[in-house]
Structures are given as structure tokens and as C-alpha cells.
Amino acid sequence: MPEKFDCIVVGAGPAGTACAYELAKAGVNVLLLERGEYPGAKNVMGGVLYRQMLDEIIPGFYKEAPLERPIVEQRFMLLDKESAFTISYKGLEWAKEPYNNFTVLRAKFDQWFAQKAVEQGALLVCETVALECLVEDGRVVGVRTDRPEGDVYADVVVLADGVNSLLAKQLGFHKEWRPDEVALATMEIIKLDKKVIEDRFNLEEGQGCTIELLGDATKGILGTGFLYTNKDTVSIGVGTLLSGLIKHKIKPYELLEYVKNHPMVRPFIEGGEPVEYLAHLIPEGGYRSMPKVVGHGVVVVGDAAQLVNAVHREGSNLAMTSGRLAAETIIMAKEYNDFSENMLDHYRVKLMESFIGQDLKKYKDVTSFFDKHTQYFEKYIPMLNRAASQMLAVDGLSKWEKQKKVWQTLGSTGEKLQLARDMLRAWRVVK
């Protein structure tokens, strides 16, 4: 007699675990499947976890969760070859409750989060791959796992199987992603003394800083680098669209080395010892790449549904909220004992009405716009650096002459008009 659950969640990442947690808490009999040796064993994130969305699930989680540092400063460095134009905000309101965000190491954090779901009553089974959805009369009725006699049944299956959602693809919810719908991120975790980190990043004890690296960090290809402080390590990484790596024939780990050795970056990590190297895909297609997220007896959450806000490097928070919204819908569906697509569609509606749908819509054209118009990263960031250098250098020229020179660095009249047009266009895309 095969086992049957109320719900099977595939994948114990932020989306799946959030969903399983909420379901178990409501008394739903839920199986949480994880293919890794433990939750987090397969998961990679630059490392920023936003407080709000998890707080809605586990109030005050930050008092016990394995977090690295609360972020008090967010810097943006627009890099040229040997210079950086830096913008930053630091605020001590972020150094205390309720906090804004934290750095986390996923292997630690995901295990903790999954354990919380287990405490609520979810059954976590690791080292188990869900090979395919079991479909009967057009309805998903369970999953086939790679365990012996591994068919498991449920009223509803939640696909939280990440960016490589082979299951959503199997159901025809989306075609294979295109190389311009995913970013390949590589990163290293580098060990450094706590005190050294705090000195180099200008931090009080225990506080954290994030630095986003734009421009020369990716050799002008669309993407970003990042440098985040953990307790006694820093995470440094770089992500570009896979299509960009293909077009420019760049090896991702060589790009990572390039970032590590950039003169504006190297002093932060000097003398540190790399302790882990990681690669992962980020779904960056946004709104236009969202697959079908609901079917008969099935919903799709998190990365599997392309729920990433690439502009604000948000993902795990969208994942958790999508998991929570899916759980709310499943709880309602259980009351009516109706797991049809029509009933489960409430999840899609809630998703699109939430900040997730709104933000994805807002930035729906950003990735493709900046991918197509390469001048922003290739041309304007270096130009900004030259202009700042010119303006700030004291060399005996009068300030009027300076302004004239800076004006000249913007190019001919035609180029200036183009610049103005480009700035307006960029504003329209992100506004």
C-alpha cells in the first residue's frame, strides 16, 4: 500500500520549507523531500536574507536562527579599471531590532529552517530525488522518488525544486530556460579574522556590510559582483547572464578571479583563505519568464517559478512568501476538499497581488533592456569615473575650466544627446 500524504513539498529550500512549515502548523500532513544530504547541501546564495518575510512566518526568528551579521551598510561601487565611484547608505536603525536584513550561510540556515518545519510536524526526508510527478487523468497525484518502491501520493504537490525545476518542465509549465533567462553566479567564501573584517569594512563588532560591484567587475557584461561580510568569512562572487558568458567566451571562475584581483576589491580580501567555491544558477527572466504556477493538484513556488528580483538582489524572501501563500491556498483547498486548478489558482492571484507580482511587473523589462543596451555598463560607468576624477582633482585649473572639461568627457553634442536619451530610457524601464 503506497503512502499518501495531504501534501508533498519537493525541495527544502526557503520556498519549500516555508510552505511545509505553514502547512504543518495548520495540521496538514506534509512530506518535505530534499535531494541533498541535508537541507542546504545543494543551495547557494550570495547571502542576504531579508527579515520581514521570514518574520511573518516565524516571528522573532532572528533571536535563534544561525545568522551571520545584520547589515548596517549597503554600498554600490561602480567600477572602472583602476577606480570606483561609490554610493552608500549606512544607518544604525538597521543595527537593532527589528533589523532590515542579515547575511547567512545557507548550509547552516537551511538546516535550521527545515528543523523548524519538522518541529511543527512536517516529515523531512533527505537524500531523495523526486524523479517525476505522477499524473492521473491530467491531475498530479504524487511523485516518483529514487527510493525503492518510491512512489508517494498526495492531494497536492508543491514544486519547490529550484531553478532547475525538471518537474515543472515535465508538466509542460515552461520550456527549457534560455541562456538569457538565467544568470550563472560563482562565489568563494574567504576566511578572515573577525576583527580584520570589521576594520576593513568600517564596522562595529557584529555588524555587517554588503557591497555590490558594477561595471568592470563583470568586464562590462551585464551582471554584478558582490562582497558580503559574514561572521569570520566574506562571500565574494560574480554573476552574469549565461548568455553573456557564452557571447564573450569567458570562463566564470576566471571572471571570479578577475573580481578578486580588482584593485578596488583586493584589499578587502587580502590574506584571506578561500574555504569554499560555489556555482549556481539564478533565474533572472523575471515577470516575462514566469511559468504556469498552478495546475490540477500542483503549485510552483520560489526559484522554480522564476521569483527573483534581480535588480534588488532579492530572492529568498520572494521564495518564502510564495511558499506561505501556497500554503494558505492549500489549507483552504483542504477545507473544501478541492485541489483542482481552479481552486489552487487562488495562489496565483495572491502571488500576483503581493509585492512579488508587483515588483516583478515593475522590473519586467530591466534585464532584457540592459542586456540589449550594453552602453550603460560598458560606456557610462567608466565615463562617470572619469568625470569624477576630473572634477575632484585639484590641479590649478579654475572650477569653470573643470566643469568645461567634465562636460567634454561626455563627448560630442550628438553623444551628449544620446546620453540624455539613454538616461531617460533607463529611468522609464526601472521607474
Partner: protein
């Protein structure tokens, strides 16, 4: 489903448990500059069978002059050896880039068996 387990199980007999070490002679801490050094930092529980397969080796040989997978794979899993593609699946990060980026959709990509493959300890 037989015997659900709540916790990670120890490695089974058929598995090769790998914890690659840095070369002992090296005194200075590694800077992990090369991909080989980066891969040494990782823990893998490799299966005995590959989860990655080139569907039609002839396509790599005759229709794919760039062999771009040998460039963009972040773990250098794919290496061209004169007439054939060597697939070092043991070092795979399971990122999915090869499946999506192969210009001929010539890679059959599945997840390694449960509990196998890469084991991230931190990030």
C-alpha cells in the same frame, strides 16, 4: 515509500566519499586561483554512475566548433579530448548551465542520486 529517514544517512557501501585535500607540501594557504584549486575546496559524494550524458557525441565532433560548454561550465566538467567530450561528472556543481547553454541541446541532465553529488558545507 520504504523507510523514510529524517536525518542524513552515512554514506553507503557503494559510494566513494571524497574529501579532497590540498597538497600537503603547500605551506602557504591556498589562494584558490585555478579551477583545480577551487575544486579542492569542495566535498563530493560521487555516485558510480554519471548523471550527465552527451546525447550524440557526433554533434560535439562535427557540428560544434566552439565547444562552449568547456568554457562556461563553472567546474570544468567538460573537457575536449581530441575527438570526444570527457565529462568529469564527479566535480559537477549541478548548476544546470550545460543543459541550458549547450547550443545543440545535446546534454542529458538529471540530478545525481539522492544524497550524492556536491555537498556544500557553507554557502
Amino acid at each position: 515509500m520504504a523507510e523514510p529517514v529524517k536525518k542524513a544517512q552515512p554514506a553507503k557501501k557503494t559510494e566513494t566519499v571524497k574529501r579532497r585535500q590540498q597538497p600537503a607540501a603547500q605551506q602557504e594557504p591556498t589562494k584558490a586561483e585555478t579551477i583545480e584549486e577551487k575544486q579542492y575546496l569542495l566535498r563530493f559524494r560521487a555516485d558510480t554512475k554519471s548523471h550527465l550524458h552527451v546525447k550524440d557525441p557526433d554533434i560535439c565532433l562535427t557540428k560544434c566548433p566552439d565547444k562552449i560548454c568547456t568554457i562556461f561550465c563553472p567546474a570544468e566538467v567538460y573537457k575536449w579530448e581530441e575527438v570526444r567530450m570527457h565529462v568529469g561528472y564527479e566535480g559537477c556543481h549541478e548548476c544546470g548551465s550545460c543543459r541550458i547553454g549547450c547550443p545543440h541541446q545535446n546534454i542529458d541532465w538529471v540530478y545525481p542520486k539522492g544524497g550524492h553529488g556536491i555537498v556544500f558545507r557553507l554557502g
